[in-house]
């Protein structure tokens, strides 16, 4: 594993009964990367995130985060060590306000903030994610665009070193996508390494410095966006063979 890699996967496989959702996937993410993961529906992208974040345990293979083996660690431990994910289908605490949602993450994430310190962190993140006007609204009453931002805001509040964003642009309008792209850049610029699964190929190509392509659980390409987008195997996976 390269010494500057913050996150490395070695031959990760995940089997659900007869389905091999991930087949021996290897990759390295460098500190400061925006690492895009693309692939057709059912390619295993979300399963990969679940394996990394600790919600699922890979069937075989190893995951290293900051040099430590992470296999099988519970989700909350992974978060406390500095890696967090968002969910494609948003999972807010619906009966809490936006600020309270973020506050829980500030208290129990890797930052473990308390009291005024936690409040400051919450205010800061509300500003950065443009949620400040909705701070005291119940999460259950938000629009999908706001919920996607809340999902990111809550992940940011855990103060991660690596943030895994699972289709945070799904369902957003073009103006919101521009905002989301700016937010993701600002997250990277604040020193957090970003992994992102995204269906908006232009957004992911514009943001990422490396892209990995999955198809049927296998890695079929990896490299800089231009190179990956022109790869015949990737074009075939997306458009089908002629």
């Amino acid at each position: 594993m390269p010494p500057e890699a913050i996150l490395s996967a070695r031959a990760i496989s995940k089997r659900f009964g007869g389905l091999l959702a991930l087949a021996s996937v290897d990759f390295d993410v460098m500190r400061g990367d925006i690492f895009g993961i693309i692939g057709p529906n059912g390619a295993g992208k979300t399963t990969l995130f679940s394996c990394i974040a600790g919600a699922l345990s890979p069937t075989s293979g190893e995951i290293f985060f900051r040099g430590e083996r992470m296999n099988g660690l519970p989700n909350h431990t992974v978060v406390k060590r500095g890696m967090v994910r968002t969910h494609q289908i948003v999972r807010p605490f619906r009966q809490m306000t936006v600020a309270e949602n973020i506050s829980v993450a500030a208290h129990f994430g890797a930052g473990r903030r308390r009291g005024a310190d936690a409040d400051r962190s919450v205010r800061d993140i509300l500003e950065r994610t443009a949620l400040a006007p909705d701070a005291s609204a119940l999460a259950g009453a938000l629009t999908i665009g706001q919920l996607k931002r809340l999902e990111i805001a809550r992940a940011m509040a855990t103060e991660p070193q690596v943030i895994c964003l699972d289709e945070v642009m799904g369902g957003l309008n073009p103006a919101e996508i521009v905002g989301a792209m700016a937010l993701i850049r600002s997250i990277r610029d604040s020193g957090i390494t970003v992994l992102m699964i995204e269906h908006h190929v232009h957004a992911v190509a514009g943001l990422s410095n490396r892209i990995m392509v999955l198809n049927f659980g296998q890695k079929i390409a990896e490299g800089p966006p231009q190179q990956v987008m022109n790869d015949p195997a990737v074009i075939t996976a997306y458009l089908g063979a002629d």
Binding site: A53, H76, G109, R114
Partner: protein, 310 residues
Amino acid sequence: MKWIRAVLWAAAAILPLIAPLFLDRGMLNDLWQLALAVILASAWNLLGGFAGQVSLGYSAFLGIGAYTTLLLSLKGVEPFLTLPLGAVLAAAFSIIIGLPAFRLRGPFFTIATIGVAEAVRVCASSVSFTGGSSGLRMPTGSFNFNLNYFSMVILAIAVVATAAYVKSSPFGHGLAAIKQDIDAAEGVGVNSNRFKLAAHALSAAMVALAGGLYAINFQYIAPTSVFDFRLSLSIVLMPILGGLGTVIGPILGALIFSTLQIKLLSIPLLRDSFLFIYGGLLIIVMLYEPDGIVGVWRRLAPVRRIFNAS
């Protein structure tokens, strides 16, 4: 509005403390019972209301507290000094149950707690040191109703204050996160298992303290009284009736429950009808207002605003 609320809370705490100045013994006995109900309901609410883990096994903790106090008193220990031990034993027992049971979610957890509580009751009925099914009596000469009354009332105030503190603390917010979406809570770093164990232990200890005071005042306990499944059921009913996960809900529920209990028990014909009535109440609340009385109050907010404006 905030100061009105503070005054009401202060009054609710002070009134039962000065009640012995103007109420007779019978009324004080009813108040003692209300204080017990408030403790059970508020303590249960820490786990069941705040964290959403509905346990039907709380009679076990009341029984552990009551039996610890009674057995040690029979050995000659001052009854009030036995209370902390009962609390510690109940908390330890809650962790032993919680370790496997909290792996289960939703109704499966609830069913497991019924099993544990019933197992405890059966064991207590069949071993000899609990007095078996005929129960045990406190040693004579240790009865002081005023002391018993104040102890129960002060414990009730302490439990409610603790519940209010927990609700607004980071710990309470973590419990709320677990209740609303346990996976998302884990996903922001909440160790859900540890939180549930802590809430369980805290509430078990409180219930055991009440159990010890129950034994001291009642002077007689038996597995059928303190380990009764109907007791576990009533403990759950009160917070649901009043408003799950709120501070005042369990108190309102306890108020209704104790009043009903006292009134019903005094009418021979209705004596055994209480389970029927509680069952009916539970169904009505679940169907029409899952947030209980507190939920009804919140629904009336627009009406209150009209009154305040005029």
